[in-house]
């Protein structure tokens, strides 16, 4: 196998190529886009979506979905921001946010893995519930006047143009990626999505694995919520609304299959960069950023359709191969076979 073919098989490589191709194309039309500051900002600005996408990737890899992460981000952001605004300690704020994320994840995981309720419906309900809690908690008002020290954090650069936030997020992604691919328990997530019945047969606790995926997803969403507060500086009751679609699209664009069992966190984080750059790209090309959601939606549908068609083809092919092998080869060989048996 040539190196190029091998690289084509690694799904995240094609996402990386798409990213380079897209940025190059935009650069051709507007060279300002390719300045180092602008490029770095594409990555720096993707930090919230990167965390969301990596979190939800755990869930998607197990073959489920979570559309409540936007609301989870909103509630975590509101809870941690009010604590900080009212002079609470940073540690308490972070712990509270993380607790919110984990509880929502546990709730989702319980309903889906334990009670067996379809994940789309269950998390849609959770989404409404948690979004409602944001309104109840904040009384429908914005959370403003966050401490300047907190909002300044978002702009701290680690080296050059790279923000500390993005560097932290990258570290988290790499750590999560290593756990997922290199540890025995980490691989459980992929097996559960790849073949649930097979996972049970080799003793993998499928239920716990799914619950864990939802808890991790909630955890990542809550950390994203904290960074979101710091970057934006105020929290509206609709904070994070619709972010789930972008995070799901980021995963799919990064090569994570919606049927589960296929894809990587690295891919998801590359997808997140592409997704969060769309509004910036639109501005550089002179379009209104109002098109942002439309384009995200179109991208999501196109990729999912292509993926589904490819998977269907593969499934039909394997079924035929299996049936054909049962009844043996055609014509003349069948004579030998009878004689031999």
């Amino acid at each position: 196998m040539t190196l190029l073919k091998k690289m084509g098989k690694v799904r995240e490589i094609s996402s990386l190529f798409f990213l380079i191709f897209l940025f190059g194309l935009v650069g051709l039309m507007n060279s300002d886009f390719l300045t180092p500051t602008s490029l770095f900002n594409c990555f720096n600005d993707s930090v919230v979506f990167t965390l969301l996408a990596v979190g939800i990737a755990f869930v998607i890899l197990t073959g489920e979905i979570d559309v409540s992460i936007g609301a989870t981000l909103g509630l975590s952001a509101a809870v941690s921001s009010t604590i900080l605004r009212d002079g609470g300690s940073a540690v308490v704020a972070v712990l509270a946010a993380v607790l919110v994320g984990c509880l929502v994840g546990l709730f989702n995981g319980f309903g889906i893995a334990k009670l067996g309720i379809p994940s789309l419906i269950f998390t849609l309900g959770t989404n409404g519930l948690v979004r409602g809690l944001v309104y109840v908690y904040t009384g429908g008002a914005w959370v403003e006047n966050l401490p300047a020290g907190f909002t300044r954090l978002a702009n701290v650069k680690l080296v050059g143009e790279l923000t500390t936030f993005y560097a932290m997020a990258l570290l988290l992604v790499i750590a999560a990626h290593l756990i997922l691919t290199k540890t025995r328990r980490g691989k459980y997530f992929i097996t559960v999505g790849d073949n649930p019945a097979g996972a049970t047969m080799v003793g993998i606790p499928t239920m716990q694995t799914k619950i864990m995926a939802y808890v991790l997803c909630g955890l990542f969403a809550s950390v994203a919520g904290i960074l979101y507060s710091s970057r934006i500086g105020f929290i509206t009751p609709t904070a994070g609304n619709g972010y789930e679609m972008k995070a799901i699209a980021a995963c799919v664009l990064g090569g994570v299959s919606l049927s589960g069992g296929l894809g990587s966190l690295i891919g998801a984080s590359i997808g997140a960069v592409i997704m969060s750059s769309i509004s910036r790209i639109l501005v550089f090309l002179g379009f209104s950023s109002d098109y942002d959601n439309t384009i995200t939606g179109i991208l999501l549908i196109v990729i999912v359709v292509v993926d589904a068609v490819a998977q269907n083809r593969a499934a039909v092919k394997t079924r035929h191969a299996r049936l054909a092998s049962r009844s043996g080869p055609l014509e003349e060989e069948s004579g030998n076979r009878r004689a031999a048996s």
């Binding site: 003793g203 069992g261 394997t318 043996g328 069948s334």
Partner: protein, 513 residues
């Protein structure tokens, strides 16, 4: 592995006693006793629904028994999860390999619980193991690219690497070619020499005599026959497979049923060297007013034959001629219009709109016909037609608006058959029409089938229930591994003949091309 055996010599690997299992009201296992010793290969045979799979799932810890106990090497255990069974050295190679298609071979083997060593050590042992068995596989290949035989090898390696001392094979050869079967058998014999005990579930009696040391027959939730292979002949095994009370009451269909006049009849459907996915070179004629029984074991290719005729799968060769018209490879819609209808095996999955009412279900196949109204549904026509079938088939409903999902199994099946008949077909293919319905409903479905015959409709009856084939068929064929391996005229149809052919224990003269 070898060490542990010498330590525990004299003790059986696995011993189950008095295992009972009930699903809702259905007693699937009625007190099973079984014992396996190191180096034994126990062939477990039995018809469909005998309870073999349930028993294996209990041994694997997927189901819990209602009663009975399980001992592993003399130690009483509670197998409440597959991981417990795995750590006790039991591994099942399922009928359809359950690999992770998107993972590599190595990942597939090393994933999961039941290992006692770190990854590096396991990798070394895996290489050693593959050398020992002499089967070589590229460990970096994706599982989705493996043939079924290779996938089965991966399953076996999974078990061996976990130091499994008891391997369970569930019909391992059902998807293998002849050469692949040979190499699997070599592997099994090697394992046997190493003292590994095996349970080998199969439908193929030839294989039983090839590799088994012991044999057990399961029938309707009990083990009817058990002992060393040397004590039995093929004929004894075939006898043992028949339900205990069957020998006396071999009913030859209903006496008053009209005989088919084959001399003057022209076939409704003729298959000429018909091939598709799952079956090969089928030659078959079905006449009007005839019930043709198609017997065989599950997976023999009968359902695939039916769905291919019905236009749901691709035809790979040969011809299907319906009443003089070539219908080879037509779409389902065209085949329906030409006069064929198919009542699928699993009515829940393929046949029924559960949350629609009875009327909507009955007429759903002919919605596009003029009778039902051009744009808007002709409610009256729908009502009249449904009423006709409800009365005719004695479908027990509270009204036509009852939701079909709330009917009993037998009545659901009648609705599905009524729907098929509403298209006024020349040929109806019934796939396991009485599976999972009670005796009374079964009798009623039988009388419906007889009515069809009287009306001159040709019926192709696919059934794994030999008794059903015997009772209804005017003529019967058996399908074995995708080919017709036996054809029986009315007077030759009996359970012995059919069972023998379904398991391919058949004298060569009876083989039709």
């Amino acid at each position: 592995m070898a060490q542990s055996q010498t330590e525990r010599s004299g003790q059986s690997l696995l011993c189950v006693r008095g295992i009972c299992k009930m699903f809702s009201l259905n007693q699937v296992l009625k007190g099973i006793d079984l014992e396996i010793n190191p180096g034994e290969i126990l062939a477990l045979i039995g018809g469909n629904g005998a309870g073999k799979s349930t028993l294996m799932k209990i041994i694997m810890g997927i189901y819990q028994p209602d009663q009975g106990e399980i001992e592993i090497r003399g130690e009483k255990v509670s197998l409440n999860r597959p991981s417990v069974a795995l750590t006790h050295g039991i591994y099942m190679v399922p009928q359809e390999p359950m690999l992770f298609p998107n993972m590599t071979v190595e990942e597939n083997i090393l994933v999961g619980v039941g290992f006692d060593a770190p990854g590096a050590e396991l990798r070394r042992r895996l290489a050693q193991l593959m050398d020992d068995i002499g089967w070589h596989l590229d460990l970096s290949r994706k599982a989705s690219s493996l043939s079924i035989a290779e996938q089965q090898l991966v399953e076996i390696l999974r078990g061996l690497l976990r130091n499994a001392e008891l391997l369970i094979f569930d019909e391992p050869t059902s998807a293998l070619t002849f050469d692949e079967v040979e190499s699997l058998f070599r592997c099994i014999r090697d394992l046997q020499k190493k003292g590994i005990g095996m349970i080998y579930i199969t439908h193929r009696l030839t294989e039983v005599f090839d590799i088994a040391t012991h044999v057990a027959i399961m029938c309707d939730g009990v083990i009817t026959l058990h002992g060393p292979i040397g004590d039995f002949t093929r004929e004894m095994l075939v006898k043992g497979l028949l339900p205990p009370n069957m020998q006396e009451q071999e009913i030859k269909g209903t006496a008053e049923a009209t005989m088919v006049d084959y001399k003057n009849a022209k076939p409704i459907l003729e298959l000429q060297n018909y091939s598709g996915y799952g079956f090969r070179g089928i030659n078959l004629k079905i006449y009007p007013g005839e019930i043709l029984g198609v017997a065989g074991v599950v997976g023999a290719g009968r359902t695939e034959l039916a769905t291919t005729i019905f236009g749901k799968d691709k035809v790979l060769g040969g011809k299907a001629i319906l009443d003089g018209r070539d219908i080879t490879g037509l779409s389902t819609k065209k085949v329906l219009e030409a006069g064929v209808n198919y009542v699928p095996e699993d009515r829940h999955l393929n046949g029924l709109f559960k949350i629609s009412d009875v009327a909507a279900n009955t007429t759903s196949a002919i919605l596009n016909r003029m009778v039902m109204g051009k744009v808007f549904l002709n409610r009256k026509a729908e009502h009249d037609l449904t009423q006709e079938y409800v009365e005719h088939f004695r479908i027990k409903v509270t009204g036509q608006d009852q939701l079909t999902g709330s009917l009993s199994g037998g009545n659901q099946q009648k609705v599905v058959i009524a729907r098929a008949l509403s298209t006024k077909p020349k040929l109806v293919i019934l796939d396991e029409p009485t599976r999972g319905i009670d005796a009374v409903a079964r009798g009623e479905v039988y009388s419906i089938i007889h009515q069809l015959k009287e009306q001159g409709v040709a019926v192709m009856l696919i059934s794994s229930d030999m008794e059903e084939i015997v009772e209804l068929s005017d003529r019967a064929v058996t399908v074995y591994q995708g080919r017709i391996n036996g054809e029986f005229q009315k007077e030759e149809i009996n359970q012995d003949n059919l069972m023998a052919a379904a398991f391919d224990v058949i004298s060569r003269e009876q083989v039709v091309s």
